[in-house]
Symmetry: C2
Subunit: 501 residues, 2 copies
C-alpha cells in the first residue's frame, strides 16, 4: 500500500507540476510579458493544460485509487491518506466523467462566446450574445447531466466549486439573507450619502503600494514565499507552498482600489500559504472551496481591514504617509468613507452591504435559466425587474445590466456566483468564532497585531487544505450548520452604529 500511495503521489505531482507551470506562464502573461508574446503564450498554456489533464486522468490513476480504496476504508475520515484518496477520487471523477468531446466542444464554444461578448458589451448588443448564451446554458445542462443523481440541475455545477452545497439549500439561505438585506439597504440609503472625497485625491502609486504591503506583512502574509505585482485585474496565484503571489491595481485618484484589493488578495494568499506543507503538490494542497476561499479574502479585507479597530492603529500611519491628503481628515470621516454604502448598478463596484444583493440576483436568475423557467430573450427584463425590486435601480441599458459580468458568457451558467456570498456569510461566522475563542483579538487589532487571529485561522482552516469540505469546516468550528446570523449581526452592528439605525 505504501508503494501504491507513493506511485499515486508521483503521478499527481507530475500533473501538478504542469498545472503550476501553466500558472507561472499566466502570471507572467498578466505582469511582464511583452505584447509580442501573446500568441505563443496562449498555445503554450493550452499545451500544459492538456498534458496536465491527460496525466491526471490517466486510467492508471483510477486503478491506483481503486486499489487503495480498501486500505483507506480502514482509516479514520481525517487520516491524511484517506483524505488524499477521497479528494483525488472526487477530482478524478470530475475530470473523467465529462466526455472529452463534450468538454472540447464546450471550451471551444465558450472561447468564441467570450469574444462575442467582449465586442457586444460595449455596443450594448444583447441580441448578438443571446444565441451564445443559450448554447452555454445547454452545455451547462449537458455537463451537469454527466453527474446524475442530483436534486437540481445546478447541483453538480455548484458542487464543482462549493462541494456539498446544493441549489435548494443555497436558495433558502439566500432568501433569508435577502429578506434582511433589502430593508437594511433601504434604511441606510434613505440617509444622506457618506462623504468619501478624502479617498479621491492624488495618492502617489509607490506609497500606496508600500502602505498595503506593510499592512499585509503585519497580517502575516509571508513575503519570503510570495510577492506583489501590478495587473489589470487583481488576483492571487499559487505555484507551490513556497510561492504564493498576489497582484493589485493602483488608481492614483482612488486610495481604496489598491489598498482593499491588496488586503483582499492577501486573505486568499494566507489561506494558501497556510496549508500544511506536506500536502503540497497533491489535491489536498489548496483551499477547499470557492466559498471558504472568499471567506478569507473578505475576512481580511472587511472584518479586519475596514474595521475601526484596524484603523485606530493604521490611520495615524496613513496620515503620516500622506500628510497633504489626510492631515485634516478625522479618523471617523475616513472610516465612514471606506464604508460608504450606496445603491449601484455594477457588482464589482458594490460595497459590503449591497454586494450580496447583486450576487443573489444572478444566482436566482441562473437557476431559472437552467430550469428552463426563464428564456434567454426574457432575461434582460427579468434582470431589470430584480434590480428594481432588490436595489431600487434600473440600468439604462444591458451593457450595465445583464451583460456586465463575463461569467455566463465565458463559462458554465451556474456554479460560480454563489461562492461570493457564501464567502461573505462564512467570513463573519469564522471571525465570530475566532473572537469567541480569543476575546483579546480586537484589542490586538487596535495595536496592529494579527498573530492570534492568523494562528486561529491557520489552525482551524488553512492547514487542512482540501481535507474537509466547507460544510465540514463550519460544523467543526461552530458545531452547527451554516447560518447567516453572525453575518447579519456583524452588518447590523457595524452599519447600525455608522448610520445610527
Amino acid at each position: 500500500m505504501e508503494k501504491k500511495l507513493e506511485e499515486l503521489k508521483t503521478r499527481l505531482l507530475e500533473a501538478n507540476d504542469l498545472t503550476m507551470a501553466s500558472a507561472v506562464l499566466n502570471w507572467d502573461q498578466t505582469t511582464y510579458m511583452p505584447p509580442g508574446g501573446a500568441a505563443a503564450r496562449g498555445r503554450q498554456m493550452a499545451t500544459l493544460g492538456r498534458l496536465a489533464h491527460e496525466k491526471f486522468t490517466d486510467p492508471a490513476t483510477g486503478k491506483l485509487l481503486d486499489e487503495l480504496q480498501p486500505y483507506v476504508e480502514t482509516l479514520p475520515y481525517d487520516h491524511d491518506d484517506a483524505a488524499l484518496v477521497r479528494v483525488t477520487r472526487r477530482q478524478y471523477e470530475q475530470q473523467t466523467k465529462v466526455p472529452g468531446d463534450l468538454l472540447s466542444a464546450f471550451l471551444e464554444h465558450s472561447a468564441e462566446s467570450y469574444q462575442v461578448w467582449a465586442k457586444a458589451r460595449p455596443e450594448n448588443d444583447f441580441t448578438a450574445v443571446a444565441p451564445y448564451l443559450e448554447k452555454n446554458i445547454d452545455y451547462s445542462r449537458q455537463i451537469a447531466n454527466c453527474f446524475p443523481g442530483y436534486d437540481h440541475i445546478a447541483d453538480p455545477l455548484i458542487d464543482f466549486a462549493d462541494q456539498g452545497m446544493k441549489a435548494e439549500s443555497v436558495r433558502a439561505l439566500f432568501a433569508e439573507l435577502r429578506q434582511e438585506l433589502v430593508p437594511l439597504v433601504q434604511r441606510i440609503t434613505a440617509q444622506s450619502e457618506a462623504d468619501d472625497s478624502c479617498l479621491h485625491q492624488p495618492y502617489p502609486e509607490n506609497k500606496q503600494l508600500a502602505f498595503g504591503q506593510k499592512a499585509i506583512e503585519a497580517y502575516g502574509y509571508d513575503f519570503t514565499r510570495g510577492r506583489q505585482d501590478k495587473t489589470h485585474h487583481p488576483f492571487m496565484t499559487k505555484f507551490s507552498w513556497g510561492d504564493v503571489r498576489i497582484t493589485t491595481r493602483v488608481k492614483e485618484n482612488d486610495l481604496s482600489e489598491a489598498l482593499f484589493s491588496t488586503l483582499h488578495e492577501s486573505g486568499h494568499a494566507m489561506y494558501e500559504q497556510g496549508v500544511a506543507q506536506i500536502y503540497d503538490g497533491t489535491p489536498l494542497g489548496g483551499g477547499t472551496s470557492a466559498g471558504v476561499h472568499e471567506s478569507q479574502s473578505r475576512l481580511w479585507e472587511n472584518q479586519v481591514g475596514r474595521s475601526r479597530m484596524f484603523w485606530q492603529h493604521y490611520y495615524p500611519q496613513l496620515q503620516a504617509m500622506f500628510p497633504e491628503q489626510l492631515q485634516g481628515v478625522a479618523l471617523d470621516t475616513f472610516y465612514r468613507a471606506i464604508n460608504k454604502v450606496q445603491r449601484s448598478l455594477i457588482r464589482t463596484d458594490a460595497d459590503e452591504v449591497t454586494y450580496n444583493l447583486h450576487v443573489m440576483i444572478r444566482f436566482d436568475l441562473e437557476l431559472d435559466l437552467l430550469e428552463g423557467k426563464l428564456a434567454v430573450h426574457d432575461l434582460p427584463e427579468a434582470w431589470h425587474g430584480r434590480y428594481q425590486h432588490d436595489l431600487g435601480l434600473h440600468a439604462p441599458d444591458d451593457r450595465d445590466g445583464v451583460m456586465q459580468d463575463v461569467h455566463w458568457y465565458a463559462g458554465t451558467v451556474g456554479g460560480v456566483f454563489q461562492g461570493y456570498t457564501l464567502g461573505n456569510i462564512m467570513s463573519a461566522l469564522f471571525f465570530n468564532q475566532a473572537l469567541r475563542a480569543h476575546p483579546e483579538i480586537p484589542t490586538e487589532i487596535t495595536q496592529g497585531q494579527f498573530g492570534t487571529l492568523h494562528r486561529w485561522l491557520k489552525q482551524n482552516i488553512y492547514q487542512h487544505g482540501s481535507k474537509f469540505t466547507a460544510n465540514e469546516l463550519v460544523e467543526q468550528i461552530t458545531g452547527a450548520p451554516l447560518t447567516i446570523k453572525p453575518y447579519m449581526q456583524y452588518l447590523y452592528g457595524k452599519y447600525g452604529e455608522l448610520y445610527a439605525l
Copy 2:
C-alpha cells in the same frame, strides 16, 4: 507528405512548448521568484524538461523523419522542409543516441559535482573537486563514444554546440590566433595602463538602465517582443519568436558592467528576434550554433558598442545624462577607458584582446584531459604554466586558477569554450563583410543609425535560424572557409591606433 510534415511539426511544437515553458520558469526563478519558491521550482523545471525530452524522442518522431526522408531528398538543400527534417534528425539523434541511463547518471553526477565545486572554490580546495572532475571527464568520453566515427574524442562534444567544427581544425585556428595575440598583448601591456577611473564613479542605476535600453532600441532590439530585467548573471532567453528577453546586472560604481552586458545580450536577442517567424516552434527556429550566437553578441558589444564611431554619437548623450561624472572627461579618455587592455587572471573580467587567450588555454587543456595526455592531478600546474606563457601571469592559488569557471565541474569537459573564441573570430568576419557590402555603415553608426547593419545581418544570418551551419554561413557570406584575418585586422587596427603600435 503534407500530412506527415504537419504531424511532425505538431509533435515538435508540443515538445517546444514544454521547453519554452521551462524557460519562462527559469526566467522567473532568476528575476522575481521569492526565495521560498526554489525547491518546487527546481522540480517543476525538471518535470518539464523530462516531458519535453520524452515528447521529442518519441519513436514516432523518428518514424516520421524516416518516412519524410525520400521526399526531402528530392528537394534542394536550402528548402525549408529539407532543412526541417535535416536539423530535426540531427537533434533527434543527439537526444536518442545517449542511453537514458548514462544521461541520468551524468546529470546526477554533475549536479553533485557542481555543489562540491561551489563549496570547494572559495576554500581553494582542488583536492575536493579533483575526483569529481575525473568522473566528469570519464562521462564526457562516454557521451562522445555514443557518436562513433569521430577523428578526435572531443569532436562529438564540440559538434553539439558548434556543428561542423572539429578539435583539429579549431586547434589549428587557435594556434594561429595565439601566435598573433601573445606578442600583441605583450606590446600593449608594455605601455602604461589606460586610465579607466572615469567609469568607476557612482552612476545611478535607473539612468544606467535607461541609457542602455535607449541604445539597444536604436540597434533594433524590439521591445514589443522583449524586455530587460535584472539578474545576478546577465543572459538572453527566448519563449517564442514574439518574446525574447534579456537581463543585465548593474554596478553603481562601474558604468561598463550594465552597459556592455546590455549591448552584448541585445546581440543574442536580435539574432533570435530576427529568425524567420515561420520557423518558430521548430528546431529551425533558433540561432544555429554557439559560435555564431556569440559572434552577434560580440559584434554589437565590441565592433559596434566599443567603437569610436558609436561613441561619437552617444558620448555627448551619455555626458548629458551624467554631467557630474563625465563633464570633464574627453571622448578620447572615455574611449580608451572602455577599451583598456590589461593582463588579468579571470576570464570573465578580461578585455577584448586578452579574452581569447583565456579561452584557448581552456580549450587546449580540455583536449589534453580528454585524450588522457594530461592527468587531473597535473592540471593545476599545467594551468599555471600556460598562464605564465600566454599571459605572463601566475595565479596565487587554484581558486582563481583552474577552479575559476564552473563549466568543467557542472557539465561535460569539452564542447563549450571554443564557442566564445569562434564567436569573436566570426564577429569580425561578418562585420567586415557587412561593411564591404555597405560602405555607408560606419557613417551611419556615427549618426546613431544601425538599420543598414541590422538589415544585412538579418538578411544574411538571423532569418535563416538553424537552417545553415556556421561553416555554411561563413562560406555563403565570405566565399571562403573561416579565417582569423579580419579579426586580427580589426584588433591591429583598433589597438594599433589606441596604443600607437
